[in-house]
């Protein structure tokens, strides 16, 4: 039984690798045409596999499955291995979804660019899959570096002035983040001799109070991943990159890349290493960072003139919520953070797909020149509204439940006032949603935009299905909670 399950897991690594190999080996004419559908297929396949494995896990009442003996990095005897549990499956599902959405519409005019984009995106997917599967910190770092490099090249893929500048900024700050993470890993390795999650969990659980070195290590890790995730003091690069990157790349970045490299790693560290034991210092720092991120992100979003920049700042604010959820370290917190991870992926993908649709139709995303597009593209308007309301945490979308769980978790961990503040900050996101809706879709119509035609094909299909998923997931959450209770996680 577990053998068949383990073999299924290889698909996560195998699919992107085979796709890239096949793409480069096959003839020129053939690959040019099939590269976009291939991308969509790989994304959808990964989503399917993730769902199947989750169901299998449930059926056999196992919380996680480990597989693949060949990957052995550490010198210690216990072989390192890849592992799949509920949270990594959610992450993998989100990766697949973001990739499928990114490939769903025709963006690049020249064949050449499309081919390069597909290769880079599949490599990025490989890196992210690896990060979700590994069980030790160093492999996590390696895979995050792979994904990082791919995202820098993707941003600058178009070779026009703005893309290059965005890629350059991402490279500089990414390098700084890598340095910080590496220092942190070194400290931890010096301290406890092994970077494996279970070994570290053992080490940290019985040795309280921690030596100073470990606190410093945590500090650097939080700093490094903070830059990757875009927490407030380190968030400056994010809006420029999202704005300047071509549309499918911004979907990939905002939807999954930043999240995986930043917040997923933070969640892994806080849950695996700590084993759930609340370490006051790290929690307090993360709590404070999260709160500042929420408020600054939402406030800055209100002042933006460009639609993509506004969405970027709003996504920074949502990342703050995930960090808040992680910082309180109890069952509610992790499930809330995981759910909000899923919500944010869904939300950002839909929002940036809509931005792409608006860009396709009017080739501008400057909100001053847009208006009244609800008449020309009603579906895009509605999906934009649903995604924004989910990000703002209003019922009946899934965002409401995830934000609710996070707020309850923070309240349970004792600091009720901060939870209240975070909850009321939702108003700022609602205000941002109103601004975007008023400026772009819901307002009085602008005359020179009257000739605009509604976007066809992949863009509308992907945003419709994903926003449908938002609402359906929102309605199904109560039953999801019962399932989790059955699994003993809740």
């Amino acid at each position: 039984m577990s053998a068949s399950l383990a073999s299924l897991m290889y698909a996560f690594i195998g699919l992107p690798l085979l796709a890239v190999a096949g793409l480069n080996l096959a003839g020129r004419r053939l690959t040019r045409r099939i590269c976009r559908p291939l991308g969509v297929f790989v994304g959808l396949a990964q989503m399917a596999v993730a769902v199947i494995s989750q169901l299998l896990l449930l059926q056999y009442h196992k919380s996680s499955v480990s597989f693949s003996q060949f990957w052995d990095m550490t010198v210690s005897d216990s072989a390192a291995y890849l592992r799949v549990d509920a949270f990594s499956l959610v992450a993998l599902f989100c990766i697949g979804m973001a990739v499928a959405a990114a490939f769903s519409f025709k963006w690049f005019d020249s064949e050449h660019n499309a081919f390069n984009f597909t290769n880079m995106a599949l490599l990025l997917m490989l890196g992210l899959n690896g990060a979700a599967l590994v069980t030790d910190l160093f492999s996590l770092y390696v895979f995050i570096e792979i994904a990082g490099l791919c995202s820098y090249t993707l941003t600058a893929l178009y070779r026009e002035e703005r893309g290059l500048e965005g890629g350059f900024k991402q490279l500089i700050l990414g390098a700084l983040a890598s340095v910080l993470i590496l220092i942190g890993l070194a400290f931890i390795f010096m301290e406890c001799g092994s970077l494996r999650y279970d070994a570290l969990a053992l080490f940290f659980s019985e040795e309280l109070p921690l030596p100073i070195l470990d606190y410093l290590a945590f500090l650097f890790l939080i700093g490094g991943f903070g830059i990757k995730a875009g927490l407030v003091p380190f968030h400056q690069w994010l809006p420029d990159v999202y704005e300047s990157a071509p549309a499918p790349v911004s979907i990939l970045l905002s939807g999954i890349a930043t999240q995986m490299m930043g917040t997923y790693a933070l969640i892994r560290i806080m849950s695996e290493l700590k084993g759930g034991a609340a370490d006051p210092v790290a929690d307090a720092i993360l709590l404070l960072l999260g709160l500042i991120t929420i408020f600054v992100g939402a406030l800055a979003a209100l002042a933006q003139k460009d639609m993509k920049r506004c969405l970027a700042y709003s996504s920074i604010s949502q990342i703050g919520y995930i960090v808040l959820g992680v910082s309180c370290g109890n069952a509610f917190g992790f499930i809330g953070a995981m759910l909000h991870f899923f919500t944010l992926t869904l939300g950002n993908t839909v929002l940036f797909t809509d931005a792409a649709a608006v860009d396709l139709a009017t080739n501008t995303t400057d909100m001053e020149r847009l208006g009244g597009l609800q008449k020309q593209m009603p579906l895009v308007g509605v999906t934009n509204l649903i995604a924004f309301l989910s990000n703002a945490g209003l019922p009946p979308a899934v965002g409401f439940w995830s934000k609710l769980l996070i707020i309850i978790a923070v309240w349970q961990s004792g600091n009720g006032f901060i939870a209240g503040l975070a909850l009321v900050a939702g108003v700022l996101t609602v205000a941002c949603c109103l601004k975007v809706q008023r400026k772009v879709f819901f307002g009085p119509d602008v005359e020179e935009l009257s000739g605009v035609s509604a976007p066809r094909g992949g863009v509308v299909v992907s945003s419709l299905t994903l926003s449908g998923l938002i609402v359906v997931a929102g309605l199904l959450i109560p039953f999801l909670l019962r399932m989790l209770q059955a699994q003993g996680l809740f």
């Binding site: 009244g372 609800q374 008449k375 309301l389 209003l394 019922p395 009946p396 409401f400 609710l404 707020i407 309850i408 309240w411 349970q412 009720g416 939870a419 209240g420 909850l423 009321v424 939702g426 108003v427 609602v430 205000a431 109103l434 008023r438 819901f442 307002g443 009085p444 119509d445 109560p478 909670l481 019962r482 989790l484 209770q485 809740f490």
Partner: protein, 475 residues
């Protein structure tokens, strides 16, 4: 399973049916209009059918067990049925009114979708017994209210609709913070387990903010008059009849049938309501725009009900519940008549209106009936409601409260008379004004007639209210 499906039908027929309307709208607009009216009428019929079990002691219950005290449930007790009947009845008439009124606007699919979704969410909020579920439906009504208020897409109305949504969302988020802290203390969101348990003051203040925002009571009321240039059925549905009264109903559901408040709150909330009633009545007397006068009047009457429900006596509570019905009918009627006057004369300033009774007699008649009911003159329903409210205030021991509300009641008479006599009597100024479509006239007359009918047969609503007030077992 018994007849629990009644409650589910009452909520989910309009809620889920509303998603069909845009599709139906593409096929045939009349079918869409009738379908939306039908959905609301279904919830009215279900509420009426569910009345008997509620009055004979075993109210209908729907229950979904969930972990960690998050279990969702609906309960059709007397209070819920009375409010549900009031809201769905008024909403059905308002939708029928909009058949004649709304034709001139475009994107009507969205209008009917939002109205029916709004009514579904209102029914959900009325019946739900789980705080989170109540909050969820509560928030959906705010979103629908935003889309409806900004319905005619003009720059000004959208900005004001946005402001209304922000005030509502801010209030309800504070209320959610209150709910979560209640969850922390009591470990469950289920209202039925919380009956009679105390709740400390700052928590009550949080929850009160949400209610004040939704019920447009003074400190948080400015979104209602500001959004009075929305289409008439929208401002009637949101400002006059349903959403504003839903806020007060939720106060009754939380603090009459739910928590046991400290006695200090039976002074503070009525005091807020009194100040709100006095200032909004004052503002109404000064206003010259007929639609804004009706908005201020709605704010004033809702503060009346809030006083009744919060003054802590049985007759006050029963008076509050009855006046939810009376206010829904009468204020809804006033808004519709104001909308008809504006539609046929194109003028909103009452100084430029006059003598309309000559060529708009039916509108004048229904406006008169609704105005006399709001003023509280017999034989209208408003008379009994006002007596019970003032008797409740007196029985609660705070005579000053009763005197403040007596002053507000007198000002209500003054500003409603000012509008009624200046617009409908005296020399005819707007000669071209005629009563347009028959749907508008019939629905106004229905509401006017209902105010008279509920007055003559007051024992029907008052039996329910008395039964509910006694079953609370609190006095």
């Amino acid at each position: 399973m018994g007849s629990q499906w009644l409650i589910l039908a009452c909520i989910f027929v309009p809620l889920l049916g509303s998603f069909l309307l845009p599709v139906l709208g593409r096929i045939n607009t009349n079918a869409r209009n009738l379908a939306s009216l039908l959905f609301v009428l279904v919830s009215l019929v279900c509420a009426v059918l569910a009345l008997h079990p509620a009055m004979t002691g075993q109210p209908l219950r729907v229950w979904l067990e969930l972990p960690q005290g998050l279990s969702l449930g609906f309960l059709g007790d007397g209070m819920a049925i009375l409010a549900a009947m009031a809201f769905s009845l008024t909403a059905a008439v308002i939708i029928f009114y909009s058949f004649g009124y709304i034709e001139r606007f475009e994107n009507l699919n969205e209008y009917y979708f939002m109205v029916t979704l709004f009514m579904g969410a209102v029914m959900g909020a009325v019946f739900s017994t789980n705080l989170i579920l109540t909050y969820a439906f509560w928030e959906i009504t705010s979103i629908c209210c935003w889309r409806l208020l900004g319905f005619d897409r003009s720059e000004k109305s959208i900005r004001l609709a946005g402001k209304a949504l922000l005030v509502n969302v801010c209030g309800s988020l504070l209320m959610l913070a209150g709910f979560i802290s209640v969850y922390m203390n009591m470990g469950t969101f289920n209202l039925l387990d919380m009956q009679g348990r105390g709740v400390d003051n700052w928590l009550m203040a949080l929850m009160l903010c949400g209610i004040l925002a939704k019920a447009a009571v003074l400190p948080l009321h400015s979104w209602l008059p500001a959004s009075s240039d929305a289409p008439a059925p929208v401002s009637a549905l949101i400002g006059g009849a349903v959403m504003v009264n839903l806020g007060v109903y939720i106060y009754a559901r939380l603090f009459l049938a739910g928590f046991q408040l400290e006695p200090v709150w039976t002074v503070v909330t009525p005091a807020i309501a009194a100040v709100s009633a006095l200032i909004s009545a004052g503002a109404a007397m000064r206003e010259t725009d007929i639609r804004r006068i009706m908005a201020y009047s709605a704010v004033c009457q809702t503060s009346f009900i809030l006083m009744g429900v919060s003054c802590g006596t049985m007759i006050g509570a029963a008076g509050g519940l009855i006046s939810i019905l009376m206010n829904a009918l009468a204020c809804g009627g006033l808004f519709l008549c104001a909308g008809t006057v504006e539609r046929s004369t194109g003028v909103r300033d009452i100084n430029e209106l006059g003598g309309l009774a000559k060529n708009m007699p039916l509108t004048a008649l229904s406006f008169g009936l609704c105005a006399l009911s709001v003023m509280g003159l017999p034989p209208f329903g408003g008379f009994f409601a006002k007596y019970m409210l003032i008797a409740g205030a007196v029985q609660s021991g705070h005579i000053w409260l009763a005197l403040l509300f007596a002053a507000a009641a007198l000002m209500t008479v003054i500003y409603l008379l000012r509008v009624f006599t200046r617009v409908f009597f005296g020399p005819l100024i707007n000669h071209e004004a005629t009563e347009r479509s028959w749907e508008m006239v019939v629905s106004m007359l229905i509401l006017g007639g209902l105010t008279l009918l509920t007055g003559l047969f007051i024992n029907v609503p008052s039996d329910i209210a008395v039964y509910v007030a006694e079953s609370l077992g609190r006095w």
